[in-house]
Amino acid sequence: MSVRLLPLMLLLLLVVFARTARADDDEATLFAHATQALKEGRAGDAIASFEALADRGVVDPVASYDRGLAYATRVRIGAEVPGDLGRAAHGFEETRDLSHDPRLIEDASRALVIVRSEVARRRTRAGQPVEVDPGRSLGRAVAGLLAEDTWAGLAVGASALLATALFARWLTGSARVRVAGGVAAGISAPALAISLAMTLAARHDRLELREAVVVTPNARPTDERGIALPGATPLPEGARVEIVESRGASSRVRFGTIEAVVAAGTLRDIAR
């Protein structure tokens, strides 16, 4: 490399680092303004700043948590805008998914219960079903019991045990060893099947599953053409749904046992 190019490259590096540093600084300033506004009860300003942070691609459990609090605060001070409860729930759900801090997860869960209780109270008044959180399916709940890597380790262990047992049963002439090998194979085979299935389920959830929160008070299920289904109950605001398929202006979602098409604008994706 020529000596003349060296200063030029240094200058270029300096510019790149300066830009990155400025962007980080902007985001930190924005977060500081947002939290300050939230503490002073200026919920509108806080929401604007938190949303600007989200627009800039900042994905952080604390930012999501504070954003949820900002929306909840706007409801609490009587300046509610339709959808605030749903957006608050979205912030808390996102926090639970993103955070590794048990205390933050606990706080977010507590706030989520408060917000969903309010939604349930309003739905009760309106004579609508109050189920806001149907929970996960059995398979997904089981897969969620252990970490994906743990399931993977179990699968490796079960696989090794199964092979060893089969070899022992096959090669040995001792009756005791053959019985022991048969028992071990009988246990390890289903264990391998279950751990493999759970590993695949956890992997699928990690890579493929898209979830969202309903952020409007009336997310009415529609048919494929977007026409509201007669008699269908709106999905509750703040409900966590699984996005089965996205089709531009609409999305097919699963909420408990219900599968429905809703307008895409009624949902907000949970960041991962």
């Binding site: 200026r42 600007a52 609490r76 001070i77 092979a163």
Partner: protein, 630 residues
């Protein structure tokens, strides 16, 4: 007396110029043929100038707001009178401007003017009212021309001229004056005969929420001379589903004259039939589907459709960099905010009025977010709007929001400020329109002494946890065990695979051994062994052993290649068996002969002849080959 003379002189000096100027000023008279016309109709503005000092020239119509000048005709005249040697000259000029009304309103036209002796003289301005198409009062019928018209317009060189109304002295038709074509309206080629539609957008690349002005023009072939009729029941409007649409024409049923265009060597009259302000609602390549009409006349094209082009607009989002907090996608244009707060003094728990005016051009946002803060409750506002076309083809206007705001806390309450961030497409930057609301003095309420926001509403969402000040940061993404192919290959698959391979290997070994054994016991293998033994015997020179080996090789060859066991067969029986199995007679006889010779040599009491035995072996090999080839 001297003073009187001076006074008279001054009086004369002051009077003479005014008299002179009075003589020089031409007599001007301006008028219109009607005072109320409909949009698209024409009105004639006529100026008559008479002067004795010079020829009136360079007539000008003056201002014509709301109208377009479509033509002009001039009729100059001169009169020379000589009385007792005194010559009196009169010069006249009558000018007729054809004006076409473009939009509804009351307009002041003129004042028309002429130039006489280097000085421009203007007549009076005239007022003309333009009403929507079809609403103009009927015009008084034109007087039927007499067979022998007289008057200022009569020309002895063209006595028939006045029999054809609309023909001016220059020979041009009044209804179709020589027109000026607009190059902007020109096209490479007509899109249809007699009549066609053409659609345009003012921009094909915009950001979300930025106005795209979409126009549909109809082109009418003026020179075709055919009456053109469009089926009013089969007009299909363009479709722009991915845009917010606002019509910019007041009346879309009435085409608005746009001018004349030269297309394909013809002069086409061009009118605007649709003009919309379109605001894209999301990013992407958005389509504006075509408009179509069906022609009824002329008969040669009856039933054919005329459609516009399908247009695509590339829509992007404004840049993320520098986007201000609170910006909502689609807020694009030029906006301004103004707010009034009344009263400034209020009792705690009382209400104040906040009047907010949001104005500008673009798709004016339908709502604004009030500055929510503790102790201030903004009730749903009453919204009024005055929206429409601003200027020629921009959409805009204003929306007003009248809020009732309850103030629940005492003291000086800062209401904050209203803000509306938007993207300015001209400056290509974000701008924030702001309106400060100021402070309200809240006096303690006598009716609600403890009302420091202590309403039942405060119980709403009680028990929310505290905020966090420090970002947690994103956990570093790590590769999971099952993301690696090695995990599936070695971790999970290798163990059962090893067992499977072992089991399969053993089974395969057994199968191979069995196959080997079977192969070893086959007649073909036996034949090879026998041939090999015969070769060995031939090499050793043991004639008897060779003959025995030849006999065994031939017997095995017949089994392998002909499927016939010839052991025990003698004489013709052997040959018959082979022929019965499809062996050629020559080969069958050869086998029988060699076997007989071998038999004879083996059991002959004489010493065996090795060379004869070798010769037999050579012949036997030939026979075996022939058996193999059959």
């Amino acid at each position: 007396m001297k003073r009187l003379l001076l006074f008279l002189l001054w009086g004369l000096l002051s009077i003479v110029p005014s008299v002179a100027s009075a003589q020089a000023a031409p007599q001007l008279q301006a008028q219109t043929d009607v005072d109320t016309v409909a949009v698209g109709d024409v009105v004639h503005l006529e100026l008559s100038a008479q002067s004795s000092d010079g020829v009136p020239t360079e007539p000008q119509p003056g201002g014509t707001p709301g109208f377009t000048v479509r033509g002009q005709s001039s009729s100059p005249s001169q009169t020379h009178i000589s009385i007792n040697g005194n010559r009196i000259d009169h010069f006249g000029l009558t000018v007729d401007w054809t004006l076409q009304a473009q939009r509804v309103g009351v307009f002041t036209v003129g004042p028309p003017s002429v130039l006489v002796g280097g000085v421009r003289y203007a007549s009076r301005a005239l007022t003309v009212r333009v009403v929507p198409a079809g609403q103009a009062p009927q015009r008084a019928p034109q007087p039927t021309p007499t067979p022998f018209p007289q008057g200022p317009g009569f020309s002895p060189f063209d006595p028939w001229r006045s029999l054809f109304p609309g023909v001016d002295p220059n020979g041009d038709e009044r209804g179709a004056p020589s027109v000026t074509t607009d190059p902007k309206l020109a096209l490479d080629a007509p899109r249809g005969a007699f009549y066609f539609l053409h659609a345009t957008v003012d921009s094909t690349s915009v950001v979300v929420g930025q106005q795209v002005t979409f126009s549909v023009y109809e082109y009418l072939d003026e020179s075709a001379g055919a009456s053109i009729e469009v089926d009013g029941a089969d007009v299909r409007d363009p479709s722009a589903a991915e845009f917010v649409k606002h019509a910019l024409l007041r009346d879309e049923q009435q085409a608005l004259m746009a001018g004349f265009a030269s297309v394909g060597g013809h002069i086409w009259k061009v009118s605007v039939v649709r003009r919309w302000a379109l605001f894209p609602i999301h990013a992407g390549d958005l389509e504006i589907a075509p408009m179509s009409v069906t022609l009824l006349r002329p008969r040669s094209v009856a039933g054919t459709k005329r459609t516009t082009e399908a247009l695509r607009v590339h829509v992007t989002e404004p840049p993320g960099a520098g986007r201000p907090p609170g910006y909502a996608l689609g807020d694009t244009g030029h906006f301004s905010l103004a707010a009034q707060v009344t009263p400034r003094d209020v009792e705690q728990g009382g209400a104040i009025g906040v009047h907010v005016e949001l104005s500008g051009t673009g798709n004016i946002p339908a709502s604004i977010t009030p500055p929510a803060r503790t102790g201030v409750e903004w009730l749903t506002p009453e919204v009024h709007e005055q929206l429409g076309n601003v200027g020629h083809d921009s959409f805009g206007g204003k929306r007003t929001f009248d809020y009732v705001v309850r103030v629940l806390r005492g003291g000086d309450m800062d209401l904050g400020e209203l803000s509306l961030p938007y993207w300015d497409p001209d400056q290509r930057s974000y701008v924030v329109a702001r309106a400060a609301l100021g402070t309200v003095h809240v006096k303690p309420s006598t009716a609600a002494p403890s009302a420091s926001g202590g309403t039942p509403d405060q119980e709403l969402l009680a028990g929310l946890p505290a905020t966090r000040d420090v970002l947690e940061g994103t956990a570093p993404t790590h590769l999971h065990a099952d993301d690696r192919p090695l995990f599936w290959l070695l971790g999970v698959g290798a163990w059962p695979a090893a067992f499977g391979i072992a089991v399969a290997g053993r089974a395969t070994g057994r199968r191979l051994a069995r196959a080997w054994r079977v192969r070893r016991a086959s007649p073909a293998t036996e034949l090879r062994d026998r041939v090999s033994a015969a070769n060995t015997a031939s090499t050793r020179g043991d004639a008897r052993a060779l003959d025995a080996a030849i006999a065994r090789a031939l017997e095995t060859a017949t089994i392998v290649h002909a499927g016939v066991n010839v052991r025990g067969a003698v004489g013709d029986e052997l040959a018959r068996r082979l022929e019965g199995a499809g062996v050629a007679r020559e080969a069958a006889l050869g086998v029988a002969e060699i076997l007989r010779e071998c038999e004879a040599a083996r059991f002959s009491p004489d010493a065996a002849d090795a060379s004869s035995a070798r010769d037999r072996w050579l012949r036997a090999q030939g026979v075996i080959r022939r058996l193999e080839k059959r």
